[in-house]
Symmetry: C2
Subunit: 381 residues, 2 copies
């Protein structure tokens, strides 16, 4: 009958349903029962039973005949497809200057994104409410029912506990101690995963960005709260206490100052410290402005220090530079030159392909991982 | 009959032999056939057959009756024990100032150690020959037959390729490119594993030192060629290109000088830069010598910089400080204080328990791992 004989019949049914669902999902087109039987090695009655169950669960649907398809003699072959629209996922970034969200279907295809600015000084409640409101408005504006949310991923600066609460966050006022996951679970009424922002960003770059196919990656997220996320052997390296890559203090070691001072061309700290302001300093430097040239040199010197320390410790295949440094293409050549000087085995260096979307997209990918584990779980026997 | 039914009969025999060997090895005392039958769940004829095979292979031996044991009626019960003396292992360190070796039996129990000094300027051939000669003399002096060597582990500074050749070593003249593993395999006529010295040292501290029971450890090996070895989730983290922890350049990032200058009390570089010389500077500082105090302060500042960079990148549970810094107990308190300042989640800090033996003992443990994999291999089914 099935792929397995004996054992727990409900487990067997679940494994068989998983096999069918995977086949449906990976197919580029709708499949007939005959194709499913052939592709899965299951019997026709088994596949028929599973397809009924998947249709009841809303995960598979029978297609109308493809347009122009000729009906042969007898009844036409029924065709089934995976219902990516049966569920939705949110990826949310909660940062120092803004909150943002991306919405996708069950296949991870993006429907839309939304963001709102927020003050660095805003309190935890205000920030949390704005993040939730921004995401819920995105869901409404896409005409998606809130009840179809299967999971929400959140990326935010700081050290996150396994239960989704914030162990420590120096970048956001009132954030330390916040039960962020629990609060958002109440809002969204589905599983909520909370991850450090740089960790989410490196996951995003591997999924849809410049780290595609790489297993050993360090991503440096420049910004008000500089941090790094690392993949080792394809898996997130969070560290023993979740603090891996919290390199905010590295510049103190190198006796350097904070980025808003490094990048200042006026003697006053650069404010606001965002991608546009930083890009302006870089443009000024390219046009020959001496103070801007010095500012860029100071900034690159610090970035090299941070990146080199990470590279020497971890020896990654690839370093991705993101945050508001992304898009600043004047950065890469000096960074490469300096890494060649300091590292016995210099890694490749690339700018983030996802730019300001990296954190939210990575949070979405982590939510999708959770849902896929649930949909496609096969217990090891 | 056996634990498995059907399948490859030679595989089945091997699995059963492994089960019996494990039982023998983990027992504190010799075991009777009846005890082995009870402990393994195998049949008596199966255990008898396996014991014959293990005796032929020299891995098990029948014991004489224990002294004072009374013979009951009938023939006495035969007792068997694991023959740890059936094979031997070497752990070798090849460093800038010395070569050393430790010898153990198949159970990892140490028989003896030996070391020889060598000049930092010695060429690769001279260093290799001295390392081999020192180890072979150790084997002879313990009255062990060279033919009983089952594996040799080697720890040495630099980046090691998977085939045991040196990809890069800046610390030892002529070392880069040397096919170290292959050369020593010809000498010892058994498998030779080559590992970075700091990686070997962290393995040693976990086996017999201060990192016992820890899974996330960074070990900093201070010395002429400072380096670090890391365990992540209990496994060595070698990095994408084998260069993880090659932090020799970190002090350049912090605009610091080399340790022989940092620790100088005369204006001239400290020479030789070994544990005794460094201990003398620390003792002078404790006695109130101002220049020595300044030297120690410079040295600690640099060590904190290196360690903090590693800790921020990796977030380990424990940092172990070894190399010639080991035993210098004045180091730990300032290191802890500084890490508390810089790290969001400061790790525990400890001095190496194995001191100058750490690299050779770690190399021995890696050789033992290899042999145990071979002796106790059970294929996953």
């Amino acid at each position: 009958m099935g792929r397995l004989t004996g054992g727990d019949p409900s487990l067997l049914r679940r494994i068989n349903a998983t096999v069918v669902l995977r086949a449906l999902r990976s197919a580029t087109d709708a499949l007939t029962l005959t194709e499913l039987v052939r592709g899965t090695g299951l019997s026709r009655p088994t596949v028929e039973g599973i397809m009924e169950g998947l249709q009841v669960a809303g995960l598979a649907a029978e297609c109308a005949d493809a347009p122009g398809e000729l009906r042969r003699q007898g009844r036409p072959a029924r065709r089934y497809r995976f219902c990516a629209e049966a569920g939705h996922l949110l990826g949310i970034e909660i940062g120092p200057h803004r909150v943002s969200a991306v919405l996708s279907d069950l296949a991870g295809a993006r429907l839309d994104r939304a963001e709102r600015p927020i003050s660095e000084q805003a309190g935890a409640e205000e920030r949390l409410e704005l993040a939730a409101a921004n995401a819920l408005e995105l869901v409404s504006s896409c005409a998606v029912a809130r009840s179809t949310l299967r999971a929400v991923g959140v990326g935010t600066p700081g050290i996150v506990r396994a239960d989704g609460s914030m162990r420590l966050s120096t970048a956001l006022p009132g954030w330390t101690g916040l039960p962020l996951g629990e609060r958002l679970r109440r809002t969204f009424r589905c599983p909520v995963l909370v991850e450090n922002d740089a960790n989410a960003a490196v996951v995003a770059e591997r999924w849809q960005g410049v780290a595609s196919g790489c297993t050993d990656v360090v991503m440096v997220l420049a910004g008000l709260s500089p941090g790094a996320g690392s993949l080792i052997g394809g898996r997130l390296h969070r560290g023993f206490g979740g603090a891996a890559g919290e390199i905010g203090a590295l510049h103190l070691l190198g006796r350097e100052a904070f980025p808003e001072r490094l990048l200042s061309t006026t003697g006053e700290p650069l404010h606001p410290l965002d991608e546009a302001a930083v890009a302006e300093v870089f443009a000024l430097a390219r046009s020959g402005d001496e103070r801007a040239e010095q500012a860029v040199e100071r900034f690159i010197h610090r970035l090299v220090h941070d990146v080199a320390a990470l590279v020497l410790a971890l020896d990654p295949e690839l370093v991705v530079v993101g945050g508001w440094a992304a898009g600043l293409d004047g950065l890469l050549d000096p960074l490469r030159t300096e890494l060649e000087r300091y590292c016995l085995r210099p890694p490749r260096v690339a700018l983030s392909a996802l730019g300001e979307d990296a954190v939210a997209v990575g949070a979405l990918r982590l939510a999708l991982d959770l849902v896929e584990e649930q949909l496609f779980v096969v217990e090891s026997t």
